[in-house]
């Protein structure tokens, strides 16, 4: 531990002198959380839809109304001809096209099946999937309503509701737990806390060491009897403290700006945040043992950042990741931390609920720190 105090004090002086570090560590994360917290919304609504009604009678108008009443689709254009309809789709102005044939009403009146064509722009598969299921739902609902009308006229309908009218044989009663309004912010803001913390801390440590390597001061330190542990922990400690302060600040922003309350135990949350900070700072240290210049440090950091956003469950559920790639998510500490953040903040989870993730995060932390201590040598080349 020799030299720990010297390095620790020196790092604090650097931070005091270099105001941009404070800016980077405290202001930028708050800004990022504010901007991304509002911007990220994965609910798909108001998909622009073009309608070509070749029938134009009451039956078809009722169908168009049903489409318009879904919040998912929004009728932005009513085409007068096939050419106009096609143009709306190919120009991208409309993602969905509903084409009602001229014989729609007649077929229904004759008791025949009517066909409604729905064209969907499949470029964005998420949007397309939602549009398709919405269109199916509209067709299903309209069909059920007509079936119920004829059921009512029968003496023994398949099922009756409480008021004695005919009803659907089975009703599904769904209830949303933890995020009843299905707000995207509820899901994303706690996770953003983790992602932002990771980014800032990795950059802080890896840069503080690689900068010394570039400036030749690391070589100068190697020639002194400073111990490896003293050097590394002296570097880690100040940034752990800064990272922890930053955690408090962005949790405050989350609670008071985004109105996402912390359902679970705050102490548990802070304790596990500290564990995560150590793992993230350790990653920074590990990067600094591989990078010779600050540019290389940036490049390596980006290799880590992308999977930690795409594979950690931050945006896409980890269950949908193919197993061949899913293992990557297990070696990224932020994966476990996101589960912990969402668990404690949204569901009020306790230690027992989170045990697998706590074990995973601890293992990551130990492995990363051991690796970086092993790789870090007081030797040149």
């Amino acid at each position: 531990m020799r030299g720990f105090g010297a390095i620790f004090l020196k790092e604090l002086t650097h931070v005091r002198r270099e105001r941009s570090t404070l800016l980077f560590a405290f202001l930028i994360p708050v800004l990022q959380l504010s901007i991304f917290g509002y911007a990220i919304d994965i609910k798909i609504e108001h998909i622009s839809t073009v309608v070509l009604d070749l029938d134009g009678r009451e039956q078809s108008r009722r169908l168009i109304e049903a489409f318009a009443n879904t919040r998912t689709l929004r009728i932005t254009q009513t085409a007068a001809s096939d050419a106009e309809f096609d143009r709306a789709m190919s120009s991208g102005r409309a993602k969905v096209g509903v084409r009602i044939p001229p014989d729609y009403s007649e077929r229904r009146l004759r008791g025949e099946q009517a066909h409604v064509q729905v064209l969907i722009d499949g470029s964005n598969s998420n949007v397309a999937t939602v549009a398709l299921s919405t269109a199916n739902m509209v067709g299903m609902n309209q069909s059920l309503r007509e079936i119920r009308q004829s059921e009512d006229r029968r003496s023994a309908p398949t099922a009756r509701g409480d008021t004695g009218q005919s009803a659907l044989p089975i009703e599904i009663r769904g209830r949303m737990l933890y995020n009843p309004d299905l707000l995207s912010a509820r899901f994303f803001v706690p996770a953003l806390v983790g992602i932002i913390l990771q980014n800032v801390t990795i950059f802080l440590t890896s840069f503080s060491i690689v900068r010394e390597r570039e400036h030749g001061t690391l070589e100068q330190l190697f020639v002194t009897p400073v111990s490896r542990a003293g050097l590394m922990l002296g570097k880690l400690a100040p940034y752990t403290i800064m990272g922890f302060l930053e955690t408090l600040i962005i949790l405050l922003v989350m609670v008071f700006v985004f109105g996402v309350p912390i359902q679970g135990n705050l102490i548990l949350l802070l304790g596990l945040s500290l564990l995560f900070l150590l793992a993230a700072l350790g990653l920074g240290l590990l990067i600094s043992t591989a990078a010779q210049t600050q540019l290389q440090a940036i490049q390596i950091t980006f290799i880590i950042l992308l999977p930690s956003i795409l594979l950690s469950g931050f945006v896409f559920p980890r269950e949908t990741i193919p197993p061949a790639i899913a293992w990557i998510s297990y070696v990224i500490p932020v994966t476990y931390f996101l589960e912990i953040l969402r668990g404690i903040i949204l569901r009020g989870a306790d230690v027992r609920d989170l045990l697998p993730h706590i074990v995973g995060l601890s293992a990551c932390c130990v492995i990363i720190l051991s690796l970086s201590i092993l790789r870090f040598r007081k030797q040149l080349a």
């Binding site: 010297a6 020196k10 030749g216 100068q220």
Partner: protein
């Protein structure tokens, strides 16, 4: 030097270091007595810094051995680090810290007490004249003052051996002279100095010099002894100094003259290495008419020594 403990501060024995296929240091051996000023010379890329880094214990030798104040560089590098100071080629202190903060930092690194650091700062301020600049941010110091600060930081723990890698590169002549005066003070106190330099006048001031060329130590000893080496002025040759106006114009003419081995220009003077058969009057006669000139025999300069030895070594390797 009876007041200093006897023995060698640095012993290097057949030291080697390879970087991949490149042999940066090849079979180098020398000894540096305590309180000596050892000047380590050689062209850029010849392996000077590599030797220093091995002696400081931050680069593992590929072969051979070396001890610094009795400790082996490969096995006991941490013990060595307690007793040495190192000043690298480029300014490698914390530019955003003040002069005093840099000294405090290194004092703490070496585990000095707060009181001891304060005492040492006073001593080092007096020695280097940095006192008035104690609270200046060190990145804003001029080159000479930066070097003094680097020296002060390297000396905060009173090391027995100081390694200085080109300490005077890029600083003005006055600062250079001051720094060397400082080195002599330290040497007088028993500190062993290991200095690399490109300046011949600095080499002349060393008690001992070593010349490394392409990884091999090709000359080592007191500057005066090196000038006596037979390889520098081979038997049957004489060195002359020729002083004449427009020396540059006659240089090419002299180089082609039969019996002239080498001719180098020094301002208005030309240093000549010629066979003994070529008399001084014959050289004067070869000059263009009505050219006023003076010629006298001379001993080799240290630069002559190194240039001659480098060429001989290069020729030997070609063969």
């Amino acid at each position: 030097m009876s007041e200093h403990p006897a023995g060698d501060a640095i012993v290097v024995d057949r030291l080697r270091r390879a970087f991949g296929k490149l042999l940066a240091v090849d079979d180098v051996s020398f000894r540096v007595p305590r309180a000596a000023i050892f000047g380590f010379l050689g062209p850029n890329g010849s392996g000077k810094s590599t030797v220093i880094r091995m002696l400081c214990g931050v680069l593992r030798p590929s072969g051979g051995s070396a001890t610094v104040i009795g400790h082996d560089v490969a096995r006991e590098s941490e013990q060595i680090k307690e007793h040495i100071g190192y000043m690298s080629q480029r300014f490698s202190l914390y530019a955003d810290l003040t002069v005093a903060e840099n000294l405090d930092f290194y004092g703490r690194i070496y585990g000095l007490s707060r009181q001891r650091i304060a005492e040492r700062k006073v001593e080092l301020f007096r020695l280097t004249g940095l006192e008035d600049r104690a609270n200046q941010i060190s990145g804003t110091l001029s080159g000479g003052w930066k070097q003094r600060l680097a020296l002060a930081c390297a000396m905060i723990h009173e090391p027995d051996v100081l390694f200085l890698d080109e300490p005077t590169a890029g600083i003005d002549p006055v600062a250079r002279r001051d720094l060397w005066d400082l080195l002599f003070v330290l040497s007088g106190r028993g500190v062993t100095l290991f200095v690399t330099t490109h300046y011949m006048d600095e080499a002349e001031r060393c008690t001992q010099v070593g010349y490394i060329y392409l990884g091999r130590l090709i000359a080592e000893g007191h500057p005066d002894d090196l000038k006596q080496l037979p390889a520098v002025t081979p038997p049957g040759t004489v060195r002359y100094e020729l002083e004449c106006r427009g020396a540059a114009e006659v240089l090419q003419q002299l180089k082609t003259l039969d019996g002239v081995r080498d001719a180098t220009l020094f301002g208005e003077r030309i240093h000549l290495l010629a066979t003994a058969e070529l008399s001084s009057s014959a050289i004067l006669a070869a000059l263009p008419e009505r050219r006023e000139a003076e010629i006298r025999p001379m001993g080799p300069s240290l630069e002559d020594v190194f240039v001659t030895l480098s060429r001989a070594e290069a020729a030997r390797r070609q063969a």
